[in-house]
Symmetry: C2
Amino acid sequence: MSGYNVAIVGATGAVGARMIKMVEQTSLPVNSVKLLASSRSAGKQLQFNGQALTVEETVPESFEGIDLALFSAGGSVSKKFAPEAVKRGAVVVDNTSAFRMDPKIPLVVPEVNPEALKLHHGIVANPNCSTIQMVVALEPVRKAFGLKRVIVSTYQAVGGAGNRALKELHDETEAYLKGEEMEAHILPVAGDKKHYPIAFNALPQIDVFEEDGYTHEEWKMIHETKKIMCGGDMDSKDIKVTATCVRIPVPVSHSESVYFEVEDPKATVKGIQDALAAAPGVVLQDDPDNQIYPQAHNAEGSKDTFVGRVRPDQETPQAFHMWNVSDNLLKGAAWNSVQIAETMDKMGLLHVQ
Amino acid sequence: MSGYNVAIVGATGAVGARMIKMVEQTSLPVNSVKLLASSRSAGKQLQFNGQALTVEETVPESFEGIDLALFSAGGSVSKKFAPEAVKRGAVVVDNTSAFRMDPKIPLVVPEVNPEALKLHHGIVANPNCSTIQMVVALEPVRKAFGLKRVIVSTYQAVGGAGNRALKELHDETEAYLKGEEMEAHILPVAGDKKHYPIAFNALPQIDVFEEDGYTHEEWKMIHETKKIMCGGDMDSKDIKVTATCVRIPVPVSHSESVYFEVEDPKATVKGIQDALAAAPGVVLQDDPDNQIYPQAHNAEGSKDTFVGRVRPDQETPQAFHMWNVSDNLLKGAAWNSVQIAETMDKMGLLHVQ
C-alpha cells in the first residue's frame, strides 16, 4: 500500500497548524501532504516533518489525486470546495459547521458514534469543539447508566476564534498591564456588529445570536450533541440538552461545568468514575483530597479529554456534576478530524485512489 | 443627631479599601472613622475623604465608643473581636464566614431579607460574594413566579481572594507574556496544599474541599442561598440549590450562569425581564440583537447586579437561564455591608451610643 495523498485546507490557521502536527503523528500511511489556503496565504512556507512545504491557493484542481482532504478554513470555503474534492474521489473531513446538520452527512466523534461513518457519501463532519469534549465525557456515562438530561456552562478558550483572536487577547493583555485602553476588533464574533475586550473579562457570547436568545454556539452544542448521541437525530427528545457558552481569557483548552441526569437509579459517583477511567480518550483526574482536577493550563497539547469533580447533586436523585477540559484545537478540531480518518481507514472506508 | 462612630476592621485589604469608599459615600451620618488591621499593618496611612488616617492595631479596646464596626479581616479575627465590639455597644456587620451559619445571626441581603435584621443580637453576617449577586437576581423572580430550583456555575474574579491573589494574577500574566514560568503561591486557596496558576487558566476550586466532593465555596452558595431566601433555614428543601464554583483570570466582578425553575407555569421571559427591570439593585442588560449583556469588565465599580441573557429552557417547562454579573468587592462585600448598616439605620436598629 502506497499511502494516502492528504490535503489540508486552511493550513495557515490555528487549527491548520494543529492539523499539520496531527498528520505528522498519524498512524495512517501518508504518501504526500498538500497545504492549501486562500490566495492571501499562498506562497507561505510551512514545515511538515522538517520539510518546507509551500502553501498553495485552493482551487478545484487542488484536489486531483487527493485521497483525504481535511478542511478548516470556514464554512463558505467548505461549501465551495468540499464537493469539488469529493467529485475528484477524496474523502473530506470537514471541521466547519457547513455540513454538520445535513441529515445525510455523518457528524462523528470516534469514541461515540464511529458506526455513523459507514453512512458517508464522501463528506464527514467534525463537530464543534465544545460539543466534542462533552460527548467524549458523557458517552461512558450514557453506556453505563443511560443519559436523560444535560445542562452545560462552558469556559471556552480564545483560540477557538482563531489566530487573530489569540493575538487580540495578547495585545489587550499587554495594554491592560500598561494601564492603556484595550482595543477589541475581533471578539466576541469577528463578523458581528460590536466587539468587546476578552482580556480580564468573560463574554457570554460565542457566535451570533439566534432569534430565541440562544447563541449559535449554544444551538450547536444542543443539536450536535443530540445528533451524535441519539442516532443522527438532531431534534431527539431522548436526551435533553441545554447550554450557556462563555468565552474566558484562556488561549487554548475549553473547560465545561456539566450537570447531567442518568436513567439508572443505581448510578454512583464511583460507578461513573470507573466508567470514565476505562473510556477511550478520557483521562480521569478526580482526587479532591489532593487538589487533582482538570485545568486548561495542563490540557494544552494533549489529545485527551480530562474529567474530574464528579459528584452527586445533593437534592436531585440520579443527578451528578462533572468538570471536563480538553485542548479545543486538538480533540476539539484537528485531532478529532485526523482520528476520524484513522477510524475510517481501520473500517475500510478510506482508500488510495 | 451627632452621627455614628464607625470602625473598619481589615482596612488595608481589598475589601477594606472598598469599605472606606462606601463609608465615604454612605447616606449614614458619620461622626468618625477608625481604621483597624493587624499589628503588621498598624501605622500605615490611608485616605478617608481626603484626610490621612493612621491604621491602628485591632485590640478589644479599639471598639470603645464605636457604634458600627464593619469586619473584613478573616474569620478568626471576627470570632475574636466581633464579640468584643458588641460587648462595647457596637453593631457588627461581619463580612467573613465566621457567623453566617449561626441560626441566631441574621444573614442579610437588603434587597432580599431586610426583615431578618430585626432578629439581630449585635452581629449581622454579610453573605459570601457569589451568593449575594445571585439572590439579588433571583429574588425578583421568586416574588413574581416562585422559585423551585437553582443550578449555578460561577466565573469568579481573583479579587475575591484578596490583594495578594490580585498581585499573583498580575505577576503570572507578566511572566506568561515574557514566556517565563508562572509561579503560584496563593491560589486556588492560600492555606491549601497545592497552588496553581490562575493567569490564562480556569480553576474549579474556590476554598477548600468538603468531604462530599463540593468545595466550601459551593457549600456556601447552597446553604447561604437557602438561609437568605427560605426564612433563615439553611437546610430548607423549598428551593433546591446546587453550585459549581470556578475562578477565572478576571481581577474584579463575578459572573454567574444560572439555571432556575419557577413555580408559576405562566412565567415568561418578558415577565421575568420586567420583574428584574423593576427590582432594587438590579440593572437589566438584555438585548441580544444589539449584543447587550452583562460583562465583568463593565461591572467593576458599580453597586448594582447586572442581569441578562434571560431565556427559556427549550425542553423543560417553567425553566429558564440567566447571566448575572456584579462587582464582588462592592455588592459582594463592602457595599452590601454598608447597605446593611443603612438599612438598619432606616429601620431604627442602629443607634448612636
